[in-house]
Structure formats: structure tokens, C-alpha cells
């Protein structure tokens, strides 16, 4: 009886979780450089404790360079088992790309993270905060060097 009560109490305090459809739009700029390699890109969601709670996109090639996505690697990439179904894939050409995922996400405050790094090139990391309570949220930002415009939308599925 005690246990049931405790369970009920916990349930009441747990934040509500919603099935969500998340869509990330990312622009990989065309760069005029002597030696061009397609960037490695990671897009993920972090909670307030800076723990990765959802992987949205991973465009990777050789494992040797995975750690060059420094923020992604630091916050969880290093312990992630790859490939992640429906998330990881090959690197992409310059241009605009859209990806979407269906996830379950408890209500709360989060950040959406975009990181891009190019061999013999540069790295750019964009982090945008958002709050999720079941209502549609859309955030965007303009990259400066390795990323063009990035946009993120989360809506109830």
C-alpha cells in the first residue's frame, strides 16, 4: 500500500511528457576554399543539466574525427552507440537540409544544439534555448562561418 501511494505521489510530480515531432533545418554554406571536406554535423537536444536527451541528426564519416564535434562529444557523443537508427548518416553537400524526428519529451526547459566541423576547416556551434509545454515552438539563428541559417520547430505529434 505504501509503495502504491509513493508511486502515485511520484507520478503527480513527474512532468508531463508529450509525443513531439521535431524538425530541424540547417544550411551548410558553400565555401570557396582550396581543400574542401564536407562537414560533420550533429544536432541534438540538451536538458538544463546539459545532458543530451535526444539526437536529431548525426552526419559523420570516419570515427577518427568524431571527437572534433567537440561539444557534442563532450555532452554525450563519446558514450553514444553508433550508428543511431534514423539519426546517423553520411555527410551532406552544401545547401539546405531538413530533418525530422518523432520523440517523447517531458515538459521543461531545453536547448537545441547545432554543431558543424570541417576537416582542415573551421567549427561552429549554435545553441538556442526553448521551453516545451506541448505548444508549438519555433526558434532560429543565423550562423556565421560553418553554418548558414538554422531553424528548429517542435510540435505535438
Amino acid at each position: 500500500m505504501k509503495n502504491i501511494l509513493l508511486g502515485l505521489a511520484l507520478l503527480l510530480f513527474l512532468p508531463v511528457s508529450y509525443a513531439a515531432k521535431v524538425t530541424a533545418q540547417i544550411t551548410i554554406p558553400k565555401l570557396n576554399v582550396a581543400e574542401y571536406h564536407r562537414p560533420y554535423v550533429a544536432i541534438w537536444i540538451e536538458n538544463k543539466k546539459r545532458k543530451q536527451v535526444a539526437q536529431i541528426t548525426l552526419w559523420l564519416e570516419q570515427e577518427k574525427w568524431h571527437r572534433d564535434l567537440r561539444s557534442w562529444w563532450r555532452r554525450g557523443g563519446k558514450s553514444l552507440k553508433l550508428p543511431v537508427d534514423g539519426v546517423s548518416g553520411a555527410t551532406r553537400k552544401p545547401g539546405q537540409h531538413t530533418v525530422s524526428q518523432s520523440i517523447d519529451l517531458p515538459a521543461g526547459d531545453y536547448t537545441i544544439n547545432f554543431e558543424s566541423v570541417r576537416e582542415v576547416g573551421g567549427r561552429e556551434y549554435i545553441k538556442i534555448p526553448f521551453s516545451w509545454n506541448g505548444e508549438t515552438v519555433s526558434v532560429e539563428k543565423q550562423g556565421k562561418t560553418e553554418l548558414g541559417q538554422v531553424r528548429f520547430t517542435i510540435a505535438q505529434n
Binding site: 582550396a34 581543400e35 576537416e119 582542415v120 573551421g122 567549427r123 562561418t145
Partner: protein, 268 residues
């Protein structure tokens, strides 16, 4: 131990085979560039994209230590390690030592086949490569390449450095052991002894792993082959230039001359 050795040999071979090796930055890095007393110096020879972190060991066979007198000195110690070739030698003559790997002529083949994303690469003797090109190959580059990778160490006052007159090289107006962060450094780029005009020289300071950009310093040579550099900071640098052009009337259709220099910019 044996499998490791085999692996390291494989790495070296594949590096030689790959024309992408031409794209990797190659560098000979000594533990010191300017000395006030005779010392033993060690240097590492490696190829990498991150400056200066050993990645691919470079062969030491052609690396020469040239004393201020012009005499080619014996290296006391050479060792091929998995990610670097290592050398040790005495710097005991006053003046400037040149440590250089001046490769001879090499031929590279690069082409694509219909429906195949990855290019095919080969290296070797010109006539064999020429014969190896399939009839349906596209984007064919049969490259004649030469290269020079070098660095300089000075004991006491610098001595004069003379260009060889062969290949892509630098005539130093400012001595390479007298680059300072508070004054411009001048150099003249030469191809077979003549000014190399309109060539992009790219310098990168060490520590690329710990910053978000390459922070390249790029200078294009003028009509006289001259380039003037202003250094953003003191530290060790890698500098490279290349001539990469399509040619007609030869068994090859592409000419590649590479030049790489490792040096330090001293704090004022």
C-alpha cells in the same frame, strides 16, 4: 609487436600511394629553431591536418641536414615511429642549418569511373600509369609532382641561404630564423629560380586543435614573386605554397609543385 609494425608500414605505403597525401600538410618540426650554444637537436617528420600533431609518419630516406658550410651532415639518429619519423643531430657550427626533404619527380594518377563515387588513385612510373588509364575513365589527372619540405635552425647569427634554382622554393629576404611578431617578414617565391607570381602562400599557426578556425594568414605573391607577412602572434607556424596547373603536350596533364616550411615567429 609484429602486427603493429605491419600496420605502420601499411600506413606509410598508403600515404605514398594516395595523392591526398599531397593535400596533407607535411612538416619537419625541430625542438628548437634558434640556439646560442651548440646542442643536440631532435626533429620530427610527419604529415597531418592539425598543426602540429603527429598523424602520418613521413619517410626519412631523403631528408638531408645541410650545415652552414654547405656540407651534408650525417644524422646521428633516425627512427621511424608509427606517427612520425624522428631524427637527432648536433648543431655545432655557427650559422644556419637547413633540414630538407627534396623529393625527386613523382607521378600520380587520379581518375573516376562512371557510376563510381570514389576516385581511383595510383602512383608510380609514368608509362605504367599512362597505360593503366581505362578507356571510360573521366576526370583524369596524371600528375608530375615535385616537392620540398624544409626547416631551418640557427646557432648564433644566421648565415646566408641560397636558393637551389630547382623546383618551388623560397628566397628568404627576411631570414627564417629572424621572423618576429612585431615586424613584417619578407620572402620571395621562386620556381626553377624565376619569380613565382600570383601564387597563394598559406601560413597556419600551431594549435589548430584548440580553436574554431584555421586562422590562416594568406598572402599572394606579386609580380616579383614577393610576399610580405605580418604575423598575428608569436609561435610556431607551418607555411605552404603550391603550383598546380593543367598542361598540354606531355605524357602528363597536370603539374604539381609543393613547398612546405616550418618556422617560429619570435616574440619581440
Amino acid at each position: 609487436m609484429k602486427p603493429l609494425l605491419t600496420k605502420s608500414l601499411l600506413v606509410i605505403t598508403s600515404l605514398l600511394l594516395s595523392s591526398a597525401a599531397l593535400a596533407h600538410k607535411r612538416w619537419i618540426l625541430p625542438n628548437d629553431f634558434t640556439l646560442s650554444d651548440a646542442e643536440t637537436v631532435v626533429a620530427d617528420y610527419s604529415a597531418s591536418n592539425n598543426i602540429f600533431y603527429f598523424d602520418k609518419a613521413m619517410p626519412l630516406d631523403e631528408v638531408k641536414l645541410i650545415a652552414p658550410s654547405g656540407e651534408v651532415k650525417r644524422m646521428d639518429y633516425r627512427f621511424m615511429s608509427y606517427r612520425r619519423g624522428m631524427m637527432a643531430f648536433d648543431i655545432d657550427e655557427q650559422g644556419t642549418y637547413r633540414i630538407a626533404d627534396v623529393g625527386g619527380v613523382s607521378y600520380f594518377l587520379w581518375y573516376k569511373l562512371p557510376g563510381q563515387e570514389a576516385p581511383i588513385k595510383d602512383r608510380g612510373e609514368l608509362q605504367r600509369l599512362k597505360a593503366a588509364i581505362p578507356a571510360n575513365a573521366t576526370d583524369v589527372y596524371l600528375t608530375k609532382g615535385t616537392s620540398r619540405v624544409e626547416t631551418f635552425i640557427t646557432l648564433g647569427a644566421p648565415s646566408e641561404l641560397k636558393p637551389s634554382g630547382v623546383g618551388l622554393e623560397v628566397d628568404f629576404i627576411t631570414h627564417p630564423n629572424e621572423f618576429y611578431s612585431d615586424e613584417p617578414s619578407e620572402l620571395k617565391l621562386l620556381m626553377d629560380g624565376k619569380p613565382a607570381k600570383g601564387i597563394k602562400i598559406v601560413a597556419v599557426g600551431e594549435g589548430t586543435r584548440y580553436r574554431d578556425s584555421q586562422a590562416e594568414v594568406i598572402v599572394t605573391t606579386d609580380e616579383q614573386g614577393m610576399a610580405t607577412f605580418n604575423w598575428p602572434m608569436a609561435g610556431r607556424y607551418h607555411l605552404e605554397a603550391k603550383i598546380d596547373e593543367m598542361v598540354e603536350g606531355f605524357d602528363y596533364n597536370n603539374l604539381y609543385h609543393g613547398y612546405s616550411l616550418t618556422f617560429e615567429v619570435q616574440a619581440p
